[in-house]
């Protein structure tokens, strides 16, 4: 029995890629979320953007949502694999503190995407998350819809090696996966990104992004200048370390004023740490990091990220 049967109800009226994002943004904006734009520095996941990594620290409530293009250089496949991407898009949501009905809200967000839950199978399966380089971890689930993981749902417990209080709920929707599911296409590149409202002509994901996948695979795997990448890495790291040393002295100083403390550029320091993280990923894809070096380099990035988080927490109380 070949499985060529169609599921017609899935195709009609399925959302385009951009409509999907609009719907999610609209849904969560109506529930009090700040809508942010994607962070404009390379990150491997939405979690690493400061809107998550730094905002979760400290006691101040915050709700934010943003689409975050997330770079994983080693996952690039030259645009040849229908399921894997160098850069995928996460819709990242932080609810701090989480409302008691956070799961119900999440289910409503799926219905807002046109998913009739009565005609699907939904499970919350244990999946805990951690980002060791950020000293961050949480417990939660992968949300499975008809056997497909569509969302990572995490209760953040620690960040920057510090216990969070209050904790927050982090919802990460995998937009490409959800779009492929809703549109019932077998390849990410066949996803309809947008549709001309007059002619109905579709613009596909492939038209928008395939060249980027191909060229960045070539760059990350074949071309990137290893010596140069290391030099960038070392320089970013050196500057970040210098700033962190200054921050340490300033933030623990009893004579410095709170104005002085608050103007210290920790957000810029964090960007330097993110740069290092991305450079590490490119070096890794490039095959330039031996296994023995690996742990050490991750440790260096961790020192920066955790250092910023700790200083940031102090700065908030200044």
């Amino acid at each position: 029995m070949p499985s060529t049967e169609l599921a017609p109800t899935l195709k009609t009226g399925a959302l385009t890629f951009q409509d999907l994002l609009f719907r999610l943004q609209g849904f969560w904006a109506e529930r009090g979320c700040v809508l942010q734009q994607p962070y404009d520095v390379e990150v491997g996941a939405g979690t690493m953007a400061p809107e998550t990594f730094l905002r979760v620290l400290g006691p101040r409530p915050y709700r934010v949502g943003y689409a975050q293009p997330s770079r994983r250089p080693a996952d690039g496949r030259y645009g040849e694999n229908p399921n894997r991407l160098f850069k995928h898009t996460q819709f990242q949501l932080i609810l701090k503190p989480p409302p008691e009905n956070v799961q119900e809200l999440y289910l409503q967000s799926l219905e807002a995407l046109g998913i009739d839950l009565k005609k699907h199978d939904l499970k919350f399966e244990e999946d805990n998350w951690e980002w060791p380089a950020g000293g961050a971890w949480g417990v939660g689930w992968q949300v499975m819809l008809d056997g497909l993981e569509i969302t990572q749902f995490t209760y953040f417990q620690q960040c920057g090696g510090m216990d969070l209080d209050p904790i927050c709920a982090e919802l990460t929707y995998g937009l490409e996966r959800i779009a492929a599911f809703l549109q019932d296409v077998d390849s990410i590149y066949d996803i309809v990104w947008a549709r001309d409202p007059d002619t109905g002509r579709p613009v596909t994901y492939g038209e928008v992004r395939l060249a980027e996948e191909l060229q960045f695979s070539v760059y990350n795997f074949e071309v990137a200048d290893i010596a140069n990448l290391w030099e960038h890495f070392n320089r970013f790291e050196a500057e970040a370390k210098e700033l962190l040393a200054l921050a340490d002295a300033l933030l623990s100083s009893e004579t410095a004023t709170s104005v002085e403390k608050r103007r210290f550029p920790l957000l810029a320091t964090y960007e330097l740490a993110l740069k290092c993280s991305n450079l590490f990923n490119v070096l890794d894809a490039r095959g330039a990091i031996s296994v023995t070096e690996r742990v050490g380099v991750i440790g260096r990035i961790r020192a920066l990220a955790v250092g910023v988080a700790k200083a940031y927490a102090l700065q908030q109380t200044a």
């Binding site: 029995m1 070949p2 499985s3 049967e5 169609l6 599921a7 109800t9 899935l10 694999n81 229908p82 399921n83 503190p97 989480p98 008691e100 799961q103 119900e104 289910l107 839950l117 009565k118 005609k119 699907h120 199978d121 939904l122 499970k123 919350f124 399966e125 244990e126 805990n128 949480g138 417990v139 689930w141 819809l145 008809d146 056997g147 497909l148 209760y155 417990q157 216990d163 209080d165 209050p166 904790i167 599911f181 019932d184 077998d186 031996s290 296994v291 023995t292 742990v295």
Partner: protein, 694 residues
């Protein structure tokens, strides 16, 4: 008498943790009610769980504790009352007892007159007790991983508590757990029932009311439903069976509140991928059951257990979605399989230099070299014992054993390492013995698992594991307490199991020797292996602890021999004669130890003329010794032990009539020599003094 219902409503609890927590909740509540005298005779405790709830129903809870009366005795009457007036001592005692001074009584005892008080305690009502004590019990449940969720971090639990139902019959027990006040409102299935509260009118109606809200609260019922549904779905394909997988059944039982099953299909072309890969994708990644045909070959179908019930259209959508996911995963696996074939295993040996085994030790390339040395040593011992095996295939397998770590397929399916290597070796025509040994190098993965079937696989497994253990001990990674990050205990268990269940002519000493371990490390590893042998005999084979101690006190080197001795001893110990002999040996051991402590010399038995009973023992022992030795040599341990048991009458008579520690130094010395000789002569199978006698 009432029924008590407790339901803790949770966000989805990890499937792997539910069964343990459900049982623990039942145990804790049962113990609490027993301790507090609130459980009626014949009361029953029934537990329930779904991913979103832990619950229990106790039938037979008393309304309250019975009142109690206790007699307390205080200071002497003279101290308490001076001239009939109460002193400070009387007042202090009355306060302590919680009674009025006027209620104090005079108690006359043989020691004199004292002040007494009758203290009546009113029993606490069940609901009060539950309010005070139950929340603590619930929050003390063990979870492998906990979380905070409320601001201020007042408590940790597996997932946030969202509702609590606590009822004595139809009355709410006003307890509070993690900030949630108990009520009567439960919740139903997320989708099939929705968010409307599900009111439990009476404790005893719990399961029935939940069923109407599309939740099957009883685990055994869901298990039964799922098995039946798997059967029914499979019957639609002629001759097909679903592949039994108990752990997977348990997982899906704990992932569902209202289980149903759908049958899905995949393209037959994927059946050219190895079954191991297909099953791993289905089972571990998708939690699907595999389907096999009448010849036990994998068929192009799968079964998914859903947590919902839909109409035909919904079923079609769900089937379609699951098929699509599976197809994409199979497609990936196929891609990796084809990609990996471009670099055959022998060409991957060098790239093992880039795969770290352990950072202080080196790469897998280094480890492979070490494994080869150990394997050569083991092979030499096995060869010299005349056992047939393919040595060249063994060494080839050792050389290639770890190369699959560099393949894409193993990076994707790490749980298949070893198996993938074996499958690749077969596909690449590297020889069947080689392929099989690589394939089964990690078996047994647990004590329930089988050992490798091939001698080459057994030897590869031994070499790999002992090398790991010795090397890890060498850099200070020996397991301590509950910490065993490199799973060295599991490795050592596997070594013992392979030696126990194979025909290999290898002892623990031979394995240690082959590993090349030396110095203080040797002593540590040696002790570690013997401790694992103890574990194996006691916890895996189920021998009584005293039998294990007795057998291992005699010898710990030959694993299969230790098992044979333990079996014989287990059979023999039941007889009265044998028990008497064990008791006598214990006595002998104590006497010899005492004598040693006192510095008494041990002489030759024949240095004096012995008493008749002592001489009889000497004669019997001398006559028996060669027979026992011969039986031991033949490993006829049962007969040997029976023979030793025949010593009983002479031993009994000896202890009856002879004073062992005779004041005369020479006599004493010969007695000691006699019993010490008996002890040594007959302890080669087991040290009987270890046997616990009634």
């Amino acid at each position: 008498m009432a029924d008590f219902l407790l339901e803790i409503g949770l966000e989805e609890v990890p499937a792997r943790m539910i069964a343990g927590a459900e049982a623990e909740l039942g145990r804790r509540v049962h113990d609490l009610l027993t301790r507090e005298r609130l459980l009626a005779d014949g009361a029953t405790v029934k537990t329930y769980s779904t991913p979103r709830r832990l619950a229990l129903l106790v039938e037979g809870v008393l309304a309250g504790q019975a009142d109690t009366q206790e007699q307390m005795t205080g200071p002497s009457w003279k101290v308490a009352f001076k001239d009939g007036a109460p002193t400070a001592a009387a007042e202090a005692f009355a306060k302590k007892a919680g009674v009025a001074v006027s209620a104090l009584e005079k108690v006359t005892t043989p020691k004199g007159e004292y002040v007494g008080a009758t203290v009546r305690r009113q029993g606490i009502r069940a609901s009060e007790l539950l309010v005070a004590e139950l929340p603590k019990e619930v929050l003390a449940i063990y979870w492998a991983k906990n979380m905070y969720w409320r601001a201020g971090k007042p408590e940790r639990f597996v997932r946030p508590v969202r509702w609590v139902v606590a009822l004595l019959d139809s009355s709410v027990v006003p307890l509070e757990i993690a900030g949630i006040a108990a009520g009567q409102a439960s919740r139903g299935h997320r989708v099939l029932h929705g968010e409307a509260p599900v009111v439990i009118d009476a404790a005893k109606n719990y399961a029935e009311i939940l069923r109407r809200a599309h939740v099957v609260a009883e685990v055994s019922e869901r298990r039964h439903t799922i098995r039946k549904a798997l059967d029914a779905a499979t019957r639609t394909i002629a001759g097909a069976r679903w592949r039994e997988d108990e752990p997977l059944v348990e997982t899906v039982v704990h992932l569902t509140e209202w289980p149903t099953v759908i049958l899905g299909n995949f393209e037959a072309e994927y059946l050219t991928l190895p079954e191991e890969v297909l099953v791993t994708v289905m089972r571990d990644h998708q939690k699907y059951f595999a389907v096999e045909d009448a010849h036990s070959k994998l068929a192009p179908h799968f079964l998914a257990v859903l947590n919902t019930e839909t109409d035909a259209e919904g079923a079609e959508i769900i089937r379609h979605g699951n098929q699509k996911v599976l197809r994409a995963r199979f497609k990936d696996a196929r891609f990796f399989w084809d990609f990996d074939q471009k670099t055959p295993l022998p060409e991957r040996v060098d790239s093992l230099k880039h795969v770290t085994f352990q950072k202080q030790l080196g790469s897998y390339h280094w480890k492979t070299g070490q494994n080869l040395q150990v394997a050569r040593e083991l092979a030499a011992v096995v060869n010299s014992a005349g056992m047939k095996f393919d040595e060249a295939a063994l060494l080839k397998a050792v050389e290639l054993a770890k190369t699959d770590l560099t393949t894409e397929l193993v990076k994707e399916f790490t749980e298949l390492q070893g198996m993938i290597g074996g499958l690749y070796a077969r596909a690449q025509g590297l020889g069947e013995r080689v392929a099989l040994a690589i394939y089964e190098q990690y078996t047994p993965a647990s004590m329930e698992d089988n050992i490798p079937v091939s001698v080459e696989g057994q030897l590869l497994g031994l070499a790999d594991r002992i090398q790991t253990i010795v090397a890890m001990f060498g850099v200070g990674n020996a397991p301590t307490g509950s910490k065993d990050p490199f799973a060295l205990r599991r490795s050592a268990n596997a070594i013992v199991k392979i030696l126990a269940e194979s025909e290999l002519p290898l002892t623990l000493d031979a394995v240690l020797q082959a590993s090349g371990v030396g110095g203080s490390n040797k002593k540590q590893v040696d002790a570690f292996l013997r401790e694992r042998l103890h574990f194996y005999l006691k916890d895996v084979r189920g021998f009584a602890y005293d039998v294990v101690n007795a057998v291992l006190a005699a010898d710990t080197n030959d694993v299969r021999d230790a098992i044979a001795r333990a079996e014989a001893l287990t059979a023999a110990r039941a007889s009265a004669d044998f028990e008497a002999i064990s008791a006598a040996f214990k006595r002998i051991k104590n006497i010899v130890r005492q004598a040693e402590e006192k510095g008494f010399a041990v002489g030759a038995p024949q240095s004096v003329k012995l008493a008749p009973e002592a001489q009889a023992l000497a004669d019997a022992a001398a006559a028996l010794a060669p027979r026992v030795a011969a039986l031991r040599e033949k490993r006829a341990y049962g007969e040997a032990l029976a023979a030793i048991a025949t010593l009983r009458p002479v031993v009994d008579a000896f202890f009856d009539k002879v004073m062992v520690l005779d004041p005369d130094e020479t006599v004493r010395g010969s007695h000691l020599g006699l019993i010490d000789g008996v002890l040594r002569g007959f302890s080669g199978i087991a040290d009987f003094s270890e046997i616990v006698t009634g």
